[in-house]
Symmetry: C2
């Protein structure tokens, strides 16, 4: 079965795969259960409109991200970020308007001259011929035009009415197209604009051959059902691609992006760590996490996922922020499992409590059983994994020691394993009985002293501690 002829296909990317219904039957990440478990009951048959297996990223760290409070990128930093994004594999990189300042223009030209392997370059300008004339001279592959269409922005920002907007948009679009450069027309604050005005201007620019139209939730007010409805409606009005831009003020930026793709959008704007005006937009890593659940093979085929952490670290350093503790995929605790019941199950099968596989991103799982809320069942699972033979009574005894030590300092998995192995050996050799806490203390101390000089162990310990720090 093929997509309908008027189905828009994301353009400008030779490696784009066509819609494939076989791959569109979604799987829930790295599920290891039986065949019948490979799809949860909500893995519905593929939606006819859905582009969750056919979309592109417009990475706007160097445009939206430059509007983040802490961001003042010099050229060297911009080049470093652009190269990292190219290596990660984003389809498009969007840059600050060359009309903003002579420096912005020089930066834009320099990045166009980098000769990136995969990413094409866009710049983002106001809907104005002065800006357009500058933009087309920089060497960009595409120009993103934006203008405020809500009554708020028409009244308090640029002061123009819809007929002026339409007239100017047509002039700018035809000019940019005449230079052989791609062009997108976006409204701003789309979700507080008049629906009829909005559809009317989108239809007009589509007819004169714009490559993409853009929908922007500039203030972060939209929710996924609104997004789905607007994009779905728009899908019936225009035949060009549809790009979406979501601010995160009310926590829906990732879900809105997903809803937009389900409704037929083709391009999503992101920035690294979500940096942008106020608290930012859809984060690159967060979108990847979401799309990995929808179609892991498609995402893995497009992007170099193990680069994600490096890209984030480069940007975090450049804007002097910490990667949030709860960041998607790369946050320090994203793959940390703690409750006794979770730890026990995850040791048996990671899919029990993980929808993403840390290995896909070059990350590692951390099962926290060495803390004072640990359960003897979780410890028992580990005993079984280590192929040790201990009775339940002995395991409870060892667990008590782990909890006692964890009251002083959280014990790494390696620490826990060491305790269990020593306990096991001592029991086998008749040196230890249940309840002989002092004897166990002495055996542990002897073991630690004997290994203190091993550099390998120290390096490993440091790594484990960093992962859980």
């Amino acid at each position: 079965m093929c997509p309908p002829e008027d189905k828009p296909v994301a353009n400008g990317n030779e490696e784009m795969v066509a819609i494939d219904l076989a791959s569109a039957v979604k799987t829930n990440g790295h599920l290891n259960g039986g065949e019948k478990d490979k799809k949860g009951f909500y893995n519905r048959p593929s939606d006819f409109l859905s582009n969750t297996s056919n979309w592109q990223i417009i990475e706007s760290t160097l445009r939206e991200g430059e509007q983040f409070a802490n961001a003042f990128f010099d050229l060297e930093t911009k080049i470093k970020i652009a190269k990292a994004l190219d290596e990660f594999g984003v389809e498009w990189i969007e840059l600050t308007s060359p009309a903003a300042s002579p420096e912005s223009r020089a930066h834009c030209e320099a990045i166009c001259n980098l000769g990136l392997k995969r990413s094409k370059i866009l710049t983002h300008i106001r809907c104005h011929m002065d800006d357009a004339r500058i933009a087309v001279e920089t060497g960009v592959d595409g120009v993103d035009v934006v203008i405020g269409t809500s009554s708020f922005l028409r009244e308090h920002s640029h002061g123009k009415d819809m007929s002026w907007i339409t007239k100017t948009a047509i002039e700018v679009i035809q000019f940019v197209k005449s230079k052989g450069i791609e062009i997108r027309f976006s409204s701003e604050d789309s979700f507080r604009s008049e629906l009829v005005d909005l559809l009317s201007i989108y239809r007009t620019v589509d007819k004169i051959g714009v490559n993409r139209v853009g929908v922007a939730d500039t203030v972060g007010c939209a929710d996924p059902r609104q997004v789905y409805e607007l994009v779905r409606t728009l899908r019936g009005v225009v035949s060009c691609d549809i790009e979406c831009h979501f601010h995160n003020d009310t926590g829906c930026a990732i879900a809105n992006a997903y809803a937009a793709l389900e409704a037929g959008a083709t391009h999503i704007d992101t920035s690294v760590l979500g940096i942008g005006e106020r608290n930012g937009i859809t984060p690159l890593g967060g979108l990847i996490a979401r799309m990995m659940v929808a179609d892991p093979e498609y995402v893995k085929s497009k992007y170099n996922l193990t680069m994600l952490r490096e890209v984030e670290n480069i940007v975090a350093e450049a804007v002097e922020i910490q990667v949030p503790f709860n960041n998607y995929i790369t946050g320090f605790c994203a793959f940390t499992h703690k409750a006794g019941i979770h730890a026990k199950a995850i040791l048996a099968n990671p899919s029990t409590y993980e929808i993403l596989n840390p290995a896909d991103f070059g990350m590692t799982r951390y099962v926290s059983i060495g803390h004072r809320l640990t359960g003897w069942n979780a410890v028992k699972s580990r005993v079984e994994q280590l192929n040790l033979t201990l009775t339940d009574e002995q395991i409870k005894d060892a667990t008590a020691k782990i909890k006692e030590l964890a009251d002083v300092r959280t014990q790494s998995m390696e620490d826990v394993d060491m305790i269990l192995r020593i306990y096991h050996t001592a029991v086998q050799e008749g040196k230890l009985k249940v309840g002989q806490s002092a004897v166990l203390d002495r055996l542990l101390e002897e073991h630690v002293n004997s290994r203190e000089t091993s550099p390998n162990r120290n390096a490993k310990r440091q790594r484990v501690e960093e992962a859980s720090a």
Copy 2:
């Protein structure tokens, strides 16, 4: 118009307001535009099922949050958090199972004895009579029972089949109810469970009189449309309240909570800053941000919103994390506006680029125009706000000085105002002409020196710098 008779009303809260269609006509936050602008076109007529103006919070920082990698709360910390949540006004506080350890039990009893003003106390136990017998003795107002229903958890966690689960659930529910205590029954990993199994057990426990059923996205795989469909379906199967619990692994925890309420859920689980297993669950502040857009008056009537930052700071300190730079409402940049076009408009009317009013949360807006990407239009807007008379040429000249100073250190709004006032006075007094940069430098220096000793100014500067730090 009244809700239908079988419409579930969140129970256990005397202050709950009935559904009021007048207030259910949503407004987009603090809109200051004309009457016709008070509703965006997507403020659809109220949905019959929707509970976005009738819901309660089950605050789980002291249960789910205790499963966060860094969380080891002592009793003193738990009491501090519980009291702060009570003052904020959450309807329910959920605590770690008293069956987890003697310490957990003692903490649970101590918190029940606090005599909180508003929040009622829940505890969260496995679906097991041993746990239930302990829970009902602690003094809690309600017991939350949970059991894994997905094949993953049935196979790799507890190893029980659906008929065992049903039998045990009935026994536990009837026992807890016999003690006059509220009871919730929740599945775990609901979105990877068999739909028919799930609906079947929910129908059974509803019939025997459970107070709430719970839907949990334990692995963070669900998206808002799935959530809407499941909750809407469930709404037709049970007559009791519906609680939802969403993990945030793929960035949909807030949007899923909103979709659940739209579909008829009555209770949402949160934790402060979202702390929990892995990267956590729906954050309290993020849910508040979302719901403020849906029905600001309802949210303001229920909660002491200016407490939000304090509650977050208490928890952040207790678990030794930084509040993320991009945190909802309280993140350092949540109300910072930077791009020239944004700054200009926000000075004219905050609703142009803000869907939330910082004053509602005791926060302040920060318009960043003192940076090197600033525009003279933004500066002109400020000149007009300050009622100064400067020509465009003079404003461009002053803007150049602001950019020059901002290359060394970002200038606060107060700094910018000072530069503009001094520029204006000097021009009026004939001391300054366009292009006399050195003269302006001297005037600025004289002014700064004359005010250096003012404690009031220093305190103000410090506050402004903190807000933008």
